[in-house]
């Protein structure tokens, strides 16, 4: 492969990844049994009527034609309309972007420091702290979100009365105007993220800590904070950024459980509902948005690598 300058290579790779992701997403949705016409008919429509509905919606065309049609629309800047509600997909996404953004940013603001603290405690803490941190990591990464949410509601809402048990955001106000309503959904998202992140990073941290020059620094009496900043951080920066990119992608479209349990309308709920109603263009658009965030994040991780490798 000819040596292109880095930005061009990153762009080319991003485009290829996005194209691959969109095809995989389309094939997966197309492979599901039933289609949007079945959903609209509610199991009570005559076969002839269903066929007419299918033709109206273009669902009778071969998959590759439908895919290319959708792709053309997206590239021209209009992702089209939902097959179920007839509403413009751009509008559906825009209406939910604020809630999802508020949740994602807050979950990262809580989750990232917590990841660092947990990972550090699991590797460098005193014995009791190491054991506790490792237990938290295993439990947090293994528990389903619904269980985390239920535990948080039982503890912080029912028992202590700190936060409301559900989050009916006031109509027409931005999500971040009501931090009390976001608290439990944010914690529900942030705790598993932190546990999962710490599980992945603790090994990398332990590796670095075992290196001779780090042990040497320790023996020289360098304070732990200085060791963390000078030796550990540069070595884990690249895996941590990649992890961040994937986590962020998950926060864009993988928040359906928290949204449903707390009664929020965000992109995760939109994606999962669209999958269950076979609303293919909506699935495509939301999933692709999440894929774009991951791809952009990975590119950013890549871009930061030369800087970290200099050390």
């Amino acid at each position: 492969m000819a040596r292109l300058p880095w930005p061009a290579r990153a762009l080319a790779r991003g485009v290829l990844l996005m194209a691959a992701a969109s095809i995989v997403i389309f094939l997966c949705t197309a492979a599901l049994p039933g289609d949007a016409a079945d959903v609209l008919g509610g199991g009570r429509a005559a076969p002839g009527e269903l066929a007419r509905l299918r033709a109206e919606q273009g669902l009778d065309r071969p998959p590759h034609v439908r895919y290319l049609d959708w792709l053309t629309d997206v590239l021209s800047g209009d992702p089209g309309v939902s097959l179920i509600t007839g509403r413009p997909i751009g509008e559906l996404v825009a209406q939910r972007a604020g809630v999802t953004l508020a949740l994602a940013v807050a979950a990262l603001a809580v989750g990232v420091p917590l990841t660092a603290a947990l990972a550090w405690a699991a590797v460098r803490g005193p014995r009791w702290l190491r054991q506790t941190a490792n237990a938290v990591i295993v439990a947090g990464a293994a528990l389903p979100q619904a269980v985390v949410a239920a535990a948080l509601v039982a503890w912080l809402s029912a028992a202590w009365g700190l936060f409301p048990p559900v989050s009916m955001l006031p109509a027409g106000e931005p999500a971040w105007s009501r931090p009390d309503l976001l608290a439990l959904p944010v914690l529900t998202l942030a705790l598993p993220i932190a546990a999962y992140g710490a599980a992945l990073l603790r090994g990398a941290i332990a590796d670095v800590m075992a290196r001779p020059y780090v042990r040497d620094a320790e023996l020289r009496g360098l304070p732990p904070a200085a060791i963390a900043l000078r030796y550990v951080l540069p070595m884990v920066a690249a895996p941590a950024t990649r992890l961040l990119a994937v986590t962020l992608g998950g926060l864009v479209a993988g928040t359906a459980v928290a949204e449903t349990l707390f009664g929020l309308a965000g992109l995760g709920e939109l994606l999962v509902t669209a999958i269950s109603t076979r609303d293919v263009p909506v699935v495509q658009s939301v999933a692709l948005l999440a894929a774009a965030v991951v791809v952009a994040g990975l590119a950013a991780a890549d871009a930061s690598r030369p800087a970290t490798e200099r050390r």
């Binding site: 005559a46 009527e49 007839g86 509403r87 309308a265």
Partner: protein, 515 residues
Amino acid sequence: MHTQLRRRSAAVVTAVALLAGCSGTAPGTAPATTASPSATTAAATVRYAAPGSPSNAVTDPHGLLPGESDVVRMALTYDVLTVPGADGATKPRLATEWRPDATLTKWRITIRGDATFSDGRPVKAADALFSLRRMGKKAAENFGRMAMFDLEAAKVIDDTTFELVTTKPYAEVGKALEGATFVVPEGSDDFSKPVPGSGPFRPTGKGGAQAVVYERNDDWWGPKPPAETIEVRAVPDPQARAQALLSGQVDLAGGVPATLARQQEGNSAVRLLRRPGATLYPLVMRTDTEPFDDPRVRRAVRLALDRQQLLDTVFLGYGEVGNDLITPKDPTSPATLPQRTRDLAQAKKLMAEAGLADGADLTLHTTTAYPGMDGAATLIAQQLAEIGMRVKVAVEPADTYFSAVYARKPFYVSYLGGIPFLDVARVALTPGSPTNETAWQDRTWSAGLDKALAEPDDTIRRRLLGDLQADLRDQGGYAIWALSDRLDLAKAGLSGVPEGIGFASAFIDQVSLDG
């Protein structure tokens, strides 16, 4: 994640419910005693958390209305021709009169002359007829609600009258125009932008995906709604709806879990509203498939069910035992039939007579779309084991249940929510109907239905329709083992929630927090 997906789909398939049964209450005058933590909301605003999904919030009133929240939104925005009353009888709304000719095939519908759309145009007969024709075109998405009409032959007489033509004598046109006949301005076809309505409330742009805020339409012809603003929020999770009410974030929560309802008995801050007979999960037996092609086997199944145990287990006792009547709350449903009870000896005898003394191997399909459907199937399987039926329960994915199982499998747990008898007859009980799930092909019965619908006398017709339901109860392919109450939680002091089930419950324009 998987269960969650299923649960999400449950909200989606509410569509199929034709319309889930809704909440009901006698207008109460109890003083408001709840302290709502939300001080920002004036008493003039009523906030409703309704079953439904914000992602599926449709804007077209004539297609599929996937959730109850969708029906409620449409009923606030648009006027309908007639509405079902709390007792199931048809009441006028935009239509003031519907009169047939002597043949019962030509109907003259008169609408009010004082309704106006939100853009100032008066609502005319042409708008109403246009809306019905639009429903006719979207038959696949609205369960063929206009199937009894020849809409091509219909015509506008003047600004306030139009003529409808039915394909056969049809005495129940008032009922056919109930609930879903949302009237939009003639020519409206693009619902991706707001389309003017003439209903009691008007949608505002406020709210986005989380909730839709409605302002009172002070020009509405009907009784002035007490609330200035109604906020409708689609909340898919029943538990979340109930918690929203209990934490003071909404004033009315529709369709709450029975477990939670039971915990609230004795809580003076909230009121539990029960709507009897809102939901049933019929057991469907296909009458053209072995072993159910033998009427004795169907009777044996009906006799083998322990209805009380099913009611207590599946609906936690919130409801009543079923008597195998498919639409027990329809005003034409026969009320005096003796209650069917469990009779294992008779059931075993019938099985033996049908040549199944050794029992039979069957698969019973069910799903998790509505709470308790899967548990009901398991319990039914256990109960049928006592007459030698070896029933395997197959739990199917909720999101394809209504396309893959309805009218395709010979033995399954179905769902009906607050639907009138003639609607069930249209979609499931006439030989040519789209989904004749029990393969009910009784010619005498079909002729009897035509005869009843051609009968101009209300009392006689009611009796004829009742007889048809009694026949179906004994001969047909359904076992109706229990009726579940629809449970709503309301803030103490909330009044004006409509009584009745099905579409009757969607018209919430008279709700009030003033108590």
